[in-house]
């Protein structure tokens, strides 16, 4: 794993702050009805992405996740302007406006989406890893899903096949405590989701996912194991989401005090504290980063607002590869 240096902390601070502000901007724009459909925000879970990206080799590693997927492609290198345009439904978006919030994809940067059906992407991740192993590349696939998805049958089927064939895949469950409105305590008789791997004799364990250093170390160990050819790992990221499941979530299932408690261990605050403590940057430099982040978010919003909507003809264009089947007139 690359060493964690002063620059790493500054990069983490800037990236996580940008992702946080990006999501906040989307929330405010959603209320103005410029973004329609559904909006699932990543506030509070940034450390998972920051740590995982530090351990990954972005030239060959891939990621697939569920619908809380705005910032993952940005972290992997995609242009955030195009991501915001996609959310606005414009033709300059990553999926040309066809997918929207829940379906951001990026072929150029190895991000396989963006999936709406809960737990549907878990066997997909195993399949992508199978492709890597078959072609002899030593890339790995990070397959992310939520604590609700851990209850789907597709998880067990994917785990079984991944262990059987020693696929280079890392299963990551982002346990933010709630499957939409149902807390983890009420979906199973145990709260340690990582133990689901024990039945498959898969290396598994919990990770403090409010701390990007711990995440980077755990993901790095898993990546090394997968690259060696020793098969999958299952990591439970114990995290928390500050906002609701989506924008239409009234959050009756948790108290405001609980959210306040978790805000004390906000990953961005943790990284900022380390930066200040070790004097990695002066107050002015931190201010400059804040301003730069604000500017970047504004630029994304402007690009998205000014982009055109897709043409109606585009509705028919991408159903099949061949574009002129008679029944799609």
């Amino acid at each position: 794993m690359k060493k964690i240096t002063k620059q790493t902390y500054l990069d983490w601070y800037k990236d996580m702050l940008f992702w946080r502000k990006f999501e906040d901007k989307l929330a405010s724009v959603y209320i103005q009805q410029k973004v329609r459909g559904f909006l699932h925000l990543y506030n509070g879970q940034e450390a998972i992405l920051a740590g995982a990206l530090h351990a990954m080799d972005l030239s060959k590693d891939k990621m697939i996740t569920a619908y809380r997927n705005h910032v993952q492609p940005i972290g992997m290198g995609e242009d955030p302007k195009k991501v915001m345009a996609e959310l606005y439904g414009k033709a300059t978006g990553t999926s040309k406006g066809m997918g929207g919030s829940m379906h951001i994809f990026s072929k150029e940067f190895g991000f396989y989406g963006g999936h709406g059906i809960v737990g549907g992407q878990i066997p997909l991740g195993a399949g992508i890893a199978f492709g890597d192993k078959y072609k002899g590349s030593d890339g790995v696939t990070l397959t992310c899903f939520g604590d609700g998805a851990a209850r789907q049958g597709s998880l067990h089927e994917a785990f079984n096949m991944a262990m059987l064939w020693k696929l280079p895949v890392i299963f990551i469950v982002e346990n933010n405590g709630y499957a939409m409105g149902t807390s983890v305590e009420r979906t199973a008789n145990h709260q340690d989701i990582w133990k689901l791997g024990l039945g498959y004799e898969m290396p598994c364990g919990p990770v403090d996912a409010m701390n990007p250093i711990k995440v980077a170390e755990a993901v790095d160990e898993a990546i090394q194991r997968a690259r060696r050819g020793d098969g999958p790992t299952f990591l439970e990221m114990k995290t928390y989401r500050y906002r609701g499941h989506s924008m239409s979530d009234a959050q009756h299932y948790r108290t405001k005090d609980e959210v306040e408690e978790y805000r004390k261990i906000d990953p961005i605050t943790q990284v900022l504290d380390i930066i200040k403590e070790k004097n990695y940057a002066t107050e002015d430099e931190i201010d400059a980063i804040n301003k730069e982040v604000k500017r970047m978010v504004k630029e994304c919003e402007k690009f998205a607002e000014e982009s055109p909507y897709p043409e109606t003809q585009q509705l028919y264009d991408m159903v099949y590869e061949q574009e002129d089947y008679p029944f799609i007139s």
Binding site: M98, G116, I117, G119, G148, T182
Partner: protein, 390 residues
């Protein structure tokens, strides 16, 4: 020119119709034999659902309360829990009322052991419903959106629909209702807007019902709860809060397998179900106001098995048929209706049967208006039918 043609053919038509009528009775007795083994509803020689209860006279049932679809379903579920002590309701997030609040307050009133949340596994939810129903108890499973039913599709197709048939009528899982919200809602995108009814109408052995409003929902849900065949109950989510109606306070049962003629007419037969009827009502009104075309609007209510007799009688009267639904046109239920009608009364048809349906693409995010079969597309089709038959 039309009169000359009909005069010449009138004698031969009467011979044909007589032959067809005999043929039809032969056909229906053939299908009755098969149906007996799939469905429990007893058959007799006259017609498949002759023994279904009579249509309730909704207007005469007083007193009534004005409410929307959510309240109607909520109160009907409460009534079912009250009258059937074996009834349970389960699904994701339903204890606080569910995403649309259809199950609100039910857990408070009837207890956690009868109304409870499940984890996120559709296959498990429906599978457990099949098992519970096979003990003779009423299981009401909720799938959060119809788009998510597909992990459970295997349980419905390979377990629920064949339970009675494969056990030689020893066991059945008839006391099962799978409820799910379906249909476009304005901003749903790929996975919150689908109408998968066509996948289910292709399964012999289950009943597929879609109410068009609060009054029908109560009657159909009560019928489903007393039926001994498994029911898939689609609820139009776009109408949950917006459709208001005066619902009778007392119990009433809408017969399974019978369509309802919402509005009588003599020029064009228009068939639809669920939310699409709202669109079709507008189209029929425009056709009458602007072009003097009188449409007979039929709500199928039950899609499987569907009431072919009512639609056929209407087409024999009007000679023109339009079917409209939100799901894509290829392979949709409209095709089944069109083919069955042309089989039965080909010579009554004065124009090719029209289908105004969704496009053959995945349900789009941004261009929903272009995709949906709105009242203008339907109006054009109605006008074309009348033009053709002149």
């Amino acid at each position: 020119q039309k009169n000359k043609r009909t005069n010449m053919m009138s004698t031969s038509i009467s011979i044909c119709t007589r032959r067809l009528h005999l043929h039809k009775r032969y056909l229906s007795s053939l299908t009755l034999k098969k149906h007996n083994e799939y469905y429990e509803t007893p058959q007799n020689a006259k017609g498949a659902f002759e023994s279904a209860p009579a249509e309730p006279n909704i207007d005469a049932l007083l007193p009534k309360t004005n409410m929307n679809l959510v309240s109607s379903i909520n109160q009907t579920l409460a009534r079912i829990l009250e009258t059937d002590s074996s009834a349970i309701i389960f699904g994701q997030d339903i204890s606080f009322g569910g995403v649309f609040r259809c199950t609100i307050n039910l857990q408070n009133r009837y207890g956690k052991d009868r109304v409870f949340n499940t984890p996120l596994n559709e296959n498990g939810i429906v599978g457990m419903a099949v098992g519970y129903a096979s003990t003779g108890s009423l299981a009401i499973a909720e799938i959060q959106f119809a788009d998510y039913v597909f992990p459970a599709f295997d349980q419905i197709k390979n377990e629920a629909s064949m339970f009675r048939y494969r056990s030689g009528n020893q066991w059945n899982c008839g006391k099962m209702i799978v409820r799910m919200p379906y249909g476009a809602v304005g901003h749903g995108g790929h996975y919150h807007s689908q109408s998968p009814e066509a996948f289910f109408t292709h399964i012999p052995g289950i009943i597929v019902m879609i109410p068009r409003g609060p009054v029908q929902a109560k009657g159909m849900l009560l019928s489903a709860s007393t039926s001994n065949d498994p029911v898939i109950f689609f609820e139009p989510k776009a109408l949950y809060r917006s459709k208001l109606d005066d619902v009778p306070d007392e119990d009433y049962f809408i017969p399974i397998g019978k369509a309802e003629i919402m509005k009588e007419g003599k020029d064009v037969t228009v068939v639809g179900w669920g939310r699409q009827l709202q669109v079709l009502e507008k189209a029929c009104e425009l056709a009458w106001k602007n072009h003097g075309i009188s449409c007979e609007l039929i709500d199928l209510r039950t899609l499987a098995p569907w009431d072919v007799d009512t639609v056929e009688a209407s087409v024999r009267k009007t000679g023109k048929l339009l079917v409209s639904h939100e799901s894509p046109v290829t392979g949709g239920v409209g095709g089944e209706i069109a083919c069955a009608i042309q089989e039965r009364c080909f010579l009554s048809l004065e124009a090719p049967i029209a289908r105004v349906c969704g496009l053959d693409i995945p349900f789009p995010l941004a261009k929903e208006k272009e995709y949906l079969p709105d009242e203008w597309k339907n109006l054009e089709a109605i006008k074309k039918l009348v033009e053709y038959s002149k």
